[in-house]
């Protein structure tokens, strides 16, 4: 039914001994894979941006249909919930339990963001938690390997720059549990099927609904390109924006922030200082006003028995952490 939590997902690589050096063994030389990796990084950075410009130009000159906007909103929500609830809360942190079909659905939905396969994403994310904002963190705005950065370079590096030319995180050190999980290992291998499927399905819906090739094309632009553009920048903003701008109610030992603006479009990820303080919590919004759609989905699924063991810090744990601050 579900994975047992037989390890701490955040303590997989060697310990950080000081702020100076990248710990040994956390990356592997990807050799000839470096080329395809760079092509993927450039493609996801540029193609959805071009598609978005085209979609907006068509919208301003000829208008945009309600169907296309709805396809964008629905596929955006599916993809971002796949990233936040699937890739992040389930696979990286094991912060709740659920059935295999739901885990597969979440892994497919997250793959549609084209931010790398589930193993790639989780390996990088666990490494980010282990060395947050220190040497070894793959996408910190403060440190690029062993080099400190200024604010502008740091923003660029953490938002997009890191994706183009990084050494590959050692997936066998950081994501062994995913390879041991046959259903998820299979979803991982079929990564490009989900990426292209996420572009084709909205186009098919648009084409059938309007019975035209033009309808298929604009649906592809809105449900595929615009959706991926938004997913890319809102997700990457969790690495850049919410490590620079916002409040730090807890002393989490890094630069993570809470940012209300970023919270809603990222399905609750914007409460990033909460998350770095309580990384094993499935719930990111810790007060009633901290909107956390990812947690709403989890409690919804829990009410019908499809999700259980949702981790959340107790009030005492939260107030103890706040005392450390004051």
């Amino acid at each position: 039914m579900s994975e047992t939590r037989d390890f701490d997902p955040m303590e997989l690589g060697p310990e950080q001994t000081d702020h100076g050096a990248v710990p040994v063994g956390i990356t592997v030389d990807q050799g000839r894979l470096r080329g395809p990796q760079k092509v993927h990084a450039i493609a996801i950075a540029i193609l959805p941006a071009i598609g978005t410009v085209a979609a907006l130009w068509i919208a301003f000159t000829q208008g945009v249909s309600t169907l296309d906007l709805a396809l964008c909103a629905v596929f955006y929500s599916i993809t971002m919930l796949g990233i936040s609830v699937g890739f992040h809360r389930q696979f990286s942190h094991r912060s709740f339990k659920t059935t295999t079909p739901i885990r597969v659905a979440l892994a497919i939905a997250g793959s549609m963001a084209a931010q790398g396969s589930v193993v790639y994403w989780i390996s990088n994310h666990r490494r980010h938690h282990q060395y947050t904002d220190k040497a070894g963190d793959i996408h910190s705005p403060y440190m690029d390997e062993e080099r400190e950065m200024g604010i502008i370079e740091g923003f660029w590096h953490s938002h997009m720059g890191w994706t183009f030319d990084h050494s590959m995180t050692n997936a066998l050190m950081y994501a062994k549990d995913l390879y041991r999980d046959p259903a998820i290992a299979r979803v991982n291998q079929l990564y490009y099927v989900w990426v292209f499927g996420g572009m084709i399905v909205p186009a098919v819906i648009g084409g059938l609904a309007t019975l035209s090739w033009w309808g298929a094309f604009t649906a592809f632009l809105w449900g595929g390109m615009v959706r991926m553009f938004l997913c890319y920048h809102f997700t990457n903003g969790i690495d850049s924006v919410t490590h620079i701008f916002g409040t730090r109610p807890f002393k989490s030992g890094d630069h993570s922030t809470n940012n209300a603006v970023w919270a809603l479009p990222t399905m609750g990820e914007g409460w990033h200082n909460n998350h770095h303080t309580f990384p094993s919590s499935a719930v990111f919004g810790l007060t009633w006003w901290q909107l956390d759609p990812g947690a709403w989905l989890l409690y919804g699924l829990k009410s019908v028995g499809l999700v259980w063991d949702i981790q959340r810090p107790s009030e005492k744990m939260i107030s103890d952490k706040q005392k450390v601050e004051s």
């Binding site: 592997v28 030389d29 990807q30 050799g31 000839r32 894979l33 396969s117 193993v119 790639y120 390996s123 590959m168 050692n170 997936a171 066998l172 050190m173 062994k176 390879y179 041991r180 046959p182 290992a185 299979r186 991982n188 291998q189 990564y191």
Partner: protein
């Protein structure tokens, strides 16, 4: 000489069986050396890291595409055993 190569191939194979068994948490006797790596759920990130660790054991640097060009434990160990001969650790 032929005998030494067979021994080297056997040692590489045993190392890889043990590595893959530990990685996937399956009993070593259940590891099928003829099965392609993707049948075990591995992707390129996994085979690159697997190759890197095999290289550490052999104290050399192996081509990152080793496990693409030789897509099973049997194929890799035949190739590596022959190429490295007596240099394969006991």
């Amino acid at each position: 000489m032929q005998h030494e190569i067979i021994e080297s191939v056997t040692r590489v194979q045993a190392w890889m069986v043990s590595y893959l068994g530990n990685l996937l948490d399956i009993p070593h006797e259940n590891v099928d050396v003829t099965l392609a790596f993707d049948q075990y759920g591995l992707d390129s990130a996994a085979t690159v890291a697997f190759t890197s660790d095999l290289g550490h054991w052999l104290e050399t640097k192996l081509d990152s595409r080793l496990m693409v060009d030789h897509n099973s434990i049997q194929a890799v160990s035949s190739y590596v055993g022959e190429a490295f001969g007596t240099a394969v650790p006991a």
